[in-house]
């Protein structure tokens, strides 16, 4: 028998041996495609408004299995036990076995229904692609252009290095040197006179609170009846766009979610997109609640208010009058107030429409629109914004 060969570890081989990179990339592309294929399911289930961009979201992936002819449920398996196994004993959950790779006996597909982690950033990208947002707008919405919110106010002895005020530090040292009685201009060979920690002077920055930098997005939604996955997806993407847009303009943006059926209540995002139970709808309750919250926490003199209401168009007839009054009032205090009626095509639901009712509302900063599908989201969003009286440079262009 000939000698065996031992080849030592080679760093350079290891470095260039990322051989699976191409296949991993292709796999990730396929995963992404799979996510895109059910983006509406993901968005309608996931809290995305006002969350950190790095938030990790678990997305279930289907369709990435490698199919073969395999046996189904009535193929028994065999295992070894601890000596005590009895018929009828539960020994595990279905589907927690390993996959079937060559060289490895496995009779089941294994855990091919798996989840992948993506960041919110990626998810939003995919959503933008799905909504067919123009590239330029995507960029605007993604990047938060914020003005500096800090201004200088005095000096202090502690701080971070970037805020070091060199001139004052220098002066402070000179002053100290003078105080010790030494010559200012030193000849050669003179002792060094180094900086002391006490010399260091930093600029002090404070938060600059400007009243016009505050904005609040009021999301109102009818959670009464049939808000299904698609409707939730549409509503959530619209609110999300609105929130992102407002964020590009204002430094301090808050979101308020108000869900309503016959009563209105303030909720968090998760609850907001969870179906309510009641069947009835009184929109005025939501509007009054909004007015109340504005009165309490977001006074119009300090806050820019953007309110938007999504519903599928149902309201109790006798509630129409109070609704209209409250809406008019909201128009007074809001920068922009809108109503979106979500009626997906083929939803088989042709109930009443409130669009007509709101047509009576005559205010320049009011806009009512109809959303029938995801392709309507972006145009309606633009149309909605065009009613904003504060048209500034970051305006979403037509």
């Amino acid at each position: 028998m000939t000698d065996s060969v031992f080849r030592p570890y080679s760093q350079s081989d290891a470095l260039r041996s990322d051989r699976s990179a191409g296949d991993r990339l292709r796999h990730r592309q396929k995963v992404r495609q799979a996510i895109r294929d059910n983006i509406s399911d993901v968005i309608s289930e996931e809290s995305i408004i006002g969350q950190s961009r790095d938030k990790i979201i678990k997305v279930p992936i289907r369709g990435m299995r490698e199919y073969r002819f395999i046996y189904g449920d009535n193929s028994p398996g065999v295992g070894t036990g601890d000596g005590q196994t009895q018929p009828g004993q539960v020994v595990g959950q279905d589907g927690d076995q390993q996959g079937d790779q060559p060289g490895q006996a496995g009779d089941r597909p294994g855990v091919d229904y798996y989840e992948t982690d993506i960041t919110l950033e990626e998810l939003i990208d995919i959503m933008f692609e799905d909504l067919e947002l123009p590239d330029l707008e995507r960029k605007k919405l993604r990047e938060i252009e914020s003005d500096s919110t800090r201004k200088r106010k005095g000096f202090r002895k502690v701080g971070v290095r970037v805020h070091l005020d060199k001139k004052r530090t220098m002066l402070s040292r000179l002053r100290r040197k003078l105080a010790t009685g030494r010559e200012l201009t030193g000849a050669e060979g003179e002792h060094r006179f180094p900086f002391h920690r006490d010399d260091l002077t930093y600029r002090r920055l404070v938060r600059d609170v400007k009243p016009h930098s505050n904005a609040v997005v009021m999301c109102l939604m009818d959670t009464s009846g049939s808000m299904d996955t698609l409707k939730k997806y549409l509503a959530r993407s619209f609110f999300f766009l609105l929130y992102q847009f407002v964020r590009t303009r204002y430094n301090n943006v808050e979101v308020v979610f108000i869900a309503h059926d016959t009563r209105a209540r303030e909720v968090n995002e998760e609850e907001f997109f969870t179906k309510g139970e009641s069947g009835g709808t009184m929109i005025s309750s939501a509007y009054n609640k909004t007015l109340e919250i504005i009165q309490e926490r977001y006074h119009p003199s300090l806050w820019n208010i953007y309110a938007f209401h999504c519903s599928d168009g149902d309201n109790w007839p006798h509630d129409n009058e109070p609704t209209l009054t409250a809406a008019a009032e909201l128009c007074q205090v809001c920068n922009l107030f809108g109503y979106g009626e979500i009626k997906p095509l083929n939803s088989g639901y042709y109930g009443d429409s409130l669009l007509q009712l709101f047509g009576e509302l005559d205010a320049p900063n009011y806009h009512a629109l109809l959303i029938e599908g995801k392709e309507d989201i972006w145009p309606s969003f633009r149309a909605f914004l065009s009613h904003d009286p504060v048209q500034d440079t970051t305006e979403v262009s037509a």
Binding site: S17, S20, H27, R68, G72, G77, V90
Partner: protein, 476 residues
Amino acid sequence: MANNWTIKDLEYWDAKIRDKVAESGLDCFPQEFEVCDHEQMLGFMAYHGMPAHYPHWSYGKSYEKLKTLYDYGVQGLPYEMVINSNPSLAYLMRENSLCLQVLTVAHVYGHNDFFKNNFTFSQTQPELTISRMKTRADRVRSYFEDPSIGPDRVEYILDAAHALSLQCSRNIAVRKLNPAQQRERAVLSAEPAHDPFERVHKSPVYEAPDLSRVPLEPEEDLLLFIADNNRQLADWERDLLHIVHEEAQYFIPQIETKIMNEGWASFWHHRIMHSIDLPEDLYLEFLVHHNQVVRPHPGSINPYFLGFQLWHYILRRYDEPTDEEIAKYGEPDKSGMEKLFEVRETDRDSSFLRRFLTEEMMREMDMFEYGRQRDKLVVSKVSDEEHWQDVKDSLLKTVGMATTPVIRIVDADFDHNRVLLMEHDHDGRDLDLEYLDRTLGYAYRLWGRQVLLRTQIQDEPATFAYDEEGFTQLED
């Protein structure tokens, strides 16, 4: 290097191990070891150990999966990876301790001997393994780069070919006839049998065999058959089918002998490590690792454990048979070692278990059969006197290629319409319908016309079809 060993140490212990290997009669290919890090190991694992392999996203998926399992500590990396080639190639992970490396080296020689001598590997042509993998990879890459083909179309075919790759003839002892030989056989078998009383008997009516059928005999090699008989395929598509088929042929022996092979390697590393005078600290560490490898995994079958137990059992039964065993099997005709070497040459997992797994051993290992009730796995039978044979039969159905349903092409021109008719050889286990749907879809993708599959679902015959309209169950 993180660990306190050098290549010199490995060579020192390797020399000792090889003395023992030669002494005990193991017959190995020349052996090469390559030291790699864990990232490389993951890479090798994703590509089944091959230094060169054609690209496909499934290997990326496999890498990500292995890496996730490894990163989260769900699953460690194997200590070793060895491929069936001549010279045999094995990888050692540099993060491992000296003891693990020595253990691995000893283990690898066991696999090496098995690859060289077991009959299932006799057709794999190990001298060519690496160069073949390389040329296949090169061919696939050339199709990637060909502007008239491109990666997307290659992937489209590979996806489908992978789905059917394990559907091939699995017993190399049964010689496969080419179409001309099949025709000859059909003609001969149509001849009336020789009749010594020809004169008094009525002469039989000669029925001409139907030689227009394609295939004449049911065909198990799905990919090969499609490559040979679908004239719509381009040359590069046909080549891809051959590539995938050949690769499956290479891996099937390993699937068929998982338990024997791992058991054999564990048996030998155990023996060798005991005989090379390890210093005490290495020896104790070895015992810990060894017990980890060959411990039973509650709820499933650990091939290392089962194989290890069985090889030891055979050795004992032939060297020190009990009176009962002599009464049952007769006086042993050869020594234990002779028997071991014979079995490692002539058996595969299914025959190995069928021949040597006894009721007593099954009871000792507490083997049980489980079935699925909703989403739970529930024990249906244990190895008691009444049911051990059933448990054993079920076990035999979960080893080697018995996990892949037998599906044969019976007619490539069904209904004179070039419809591909396949038959599932039903053995009591139904096919998974969701997987059937998608896999038939892949068969349709390659065949280009309707494909049919006859099987049984819940004891009722059923026929499924896949064509441009998608998956349907036909009414009989």
